[in-house]
């Protein structure tokens, strides 16, 4: 694993995401906005953004049940909880995730959100975009704090789920790495 961004640089990338949302959502209208992070790590990023932006509509989405690659030899995925304790109806919802690659997580997230309510508009903000070549669905981010193309995998680490913070370049992506 080679480091791409250290803890401070990662914090700066998250700040860029917040700044982008601030540009979209004027100060007086933030109660019409919501940040929904994908478990795991998207929720951590969304939490930090919400704090700096003063957005109180903050939720966590677990997309496990909506994935298209459930199951596999002798293992089962960990189903987490979805925690969205406000109505999504009519809000501008920013979906937040760490890495955008195939777009399949986002497809699952959109389906999961459709079962929860009807936002006015759904936006997508990610920390790292792997580039259009990796996409398997017609999905793009409205904002990406950084783009890292190429075959090597990208791993974002954030506390408290991980033991350190940063963005790392991993091995050349094989089958089934990240969605």
């Amino acid at each position: 694993m080679d480091p791409l961004a250290d803890a401070n640089q990662t914090a700066a990338l998250i700040a860029k995401m917040s700044a982008w949302v601030a540009g979209q959502a004027p100060d007086g209208q933030r109660d019409q906005w919501a940040l929904v992070g994908l478990r795991r790590r998207g929720d951590v990023i969304a939490g930090r953004m919400a704090e700096s932006l003063g957005i109180t509509n903050l939720g966590t989405l677990d997309i496990t049940l909506y994935r298209d690659d459930l199951g596999g030899a002798g293992t089962v995925p960990m189903v987490g909880t979805t925690e969205i304790d406000f109505s999504l109806d009519g809000l501008d919802v920013v979906l937040v995730d760490d890495v955008l690659m195939t777009g399949r997580s986002i497809r699952a997230a959109l389906d999961a959100m459709a079962d929860l309510g009807r936002p006015r508009r759904v936006w997508l903000a990610v920390l790292m975009d792997r580039g259009a070549e990796t996409r398997e669905l017609p999905i793009a981010a409205d904002f990406a704090a950084a783009v890292q193309s190429g075959p090597r995998s990208v791993e974002v680490r954030l506390r408290p789920g991980d033991s350190d913070e940063g963005v790392y370049l991993g091995e050349t992506a094989g089958e089934g790495v990240g969605i």
């Binding site: 909506y66 459930l70 199951g71 002798g74 293992t75 089962v76 960990m78 979805t82 925690e83 079962d115």
Partner: protein
């Protein structure tokens, strides 16, 4: 849990909790937690079992469990076949295995089975290719009831995060001898580290329960009044007249229902002996006024309706886990 966020789940079936490790049980309960929210949102459905078929085979009467399994399967977008033994070809003499094989031939992924013979679910699992979930077999096991009872204990006693029951004392009271619920609860509770006291009249409390093998043991008592002050949870079992062979009198098990209530019924007066926050559970259906008073069943200590809600989440988790694990094999 493995590095890629997956749990190595080894089970295609759920026949008895004895087959599951403590970690397997914890994984079911953690999964159930993720499913609990589905029941409260606007679209009460998730697509996890879309295109799969769940067959409910109930050869014995059931309201709660069959409806719970049916709704659980539907909430996960599975197609559901429901079958009850009465008015079917079983009454024409078809055997259990033949019935099951015929239903399986229609393309079933999971069979949920309830049967009055102990071991029926295991027999099916040995004779069909699909997953089998035991919804109660004779006096043997009712594992999803055990899981939902454990989930309820964990939630009420603040152990949902740790799922470690060390230091908790649970009394299971009443007709232990005839109760598959008692067996499943006992196994599950012991695996998570709880201390279990089985309470009932000598005729309904076989000595064999004191030592279940695998280092699992239960304390036995015939004195509910003495046990109550020591427990965090008291689980009142239904007196199962239909398995006693004595009609509505209790047969040879106890002299009269009035005497049973006097010694083992959970009345409001008796509940005062317990700690203020004691959790009262009952697997249903209740004989109100016999093993439990209406005032207790409907009172603030009661978790009886929560048990039913938790049953739905737990059964969703079980259906999800057994089918998802079977997918890759």
């Amino acid at each position: 849990m493995t590095d890629d966020g997956k749990y190595p789940w080894p089970h295609r079936h759920l026949l008895t909790l004895a087959d599951y490790s403590a970690d397997d049980i914890r994984h079911v309960l953690t999964t159930a937690r993720g499913f609990e929210g589905i029941s409260t949102r606007s679209v009460k459905k998730a697509p996890a079992l879309r295109g799969r078929v769940v067959a409910n085979l109930f050869f014995e009467d059931s309201t709660r469990t069959s409806m719970s399994f049916q709704l659980a399967a539907q909430r996960l977008s599975a197609d559901v076949l429901s079958f009850s033994g009465k008015g079917s070809s079983v009454s024409k003499g078809e055997t259990l295995v033949d019935t099951a094989r015929n239903i399986e031939a229609m393309g079933v992924d999971v069979m949920v089975v309830r049967h009055h013979h102990s071991g029926a679910a295991a027999k099916l699992a040995a004779n069909v290719q699909c997953s089998v979930v035991n919804a109660g077999d004779g006096r043997h096991a009712h594992p999803t009831q055990g899981l939902l009872d454990i989930y309820t204990v964990a939630k009420r006693c603040g152990r949902l995060d740790s799922l470690d029951f060390t230091g908790l004392t649970v009394a299971i009271v009443g007709d232990i001898a005839n109760s598959r619920v008692a067996r499943s609860d006992l196994i599950g509770l012991k695996k998570l580290g709880a201390h279990v006291i089985l309470v009932g009249p000598p005729t309904l409390l076989p000595r064999g329960f004191a030592d279940l093998g695998d280092g699992m043991s239960a304390e036995l008592s015939h004195d509910l009044d003495a046990v109550l002050p020591r427990v965090d949870v008291v689980n009142m079992l239904r007196v199962q007249f239909e398995r006693m062979g004595g009609g509505k009198s209790g047969g040879p098990a106890f002299p009269s229902t009035r005497e049973y209530t006097a010694r083992y019924g959970l009345t409001a007066a008796r509940l005062k002996r317990a700690r203020p926050g004691v959790v009262v559970m009952h697997p249903g259906p209740m004989n109100r006024g016999l093993e439990i008073d209406a005032a207790v069943a409907d009172g603030p200590n009661s978790a009886i309706l929560e048990q039913v809600s938790h049953g739905l989440a737990v059964r969703m988790a079980v259906l999800f886990l057994v089918t998802t694990a079977a997918q890759g094999t």
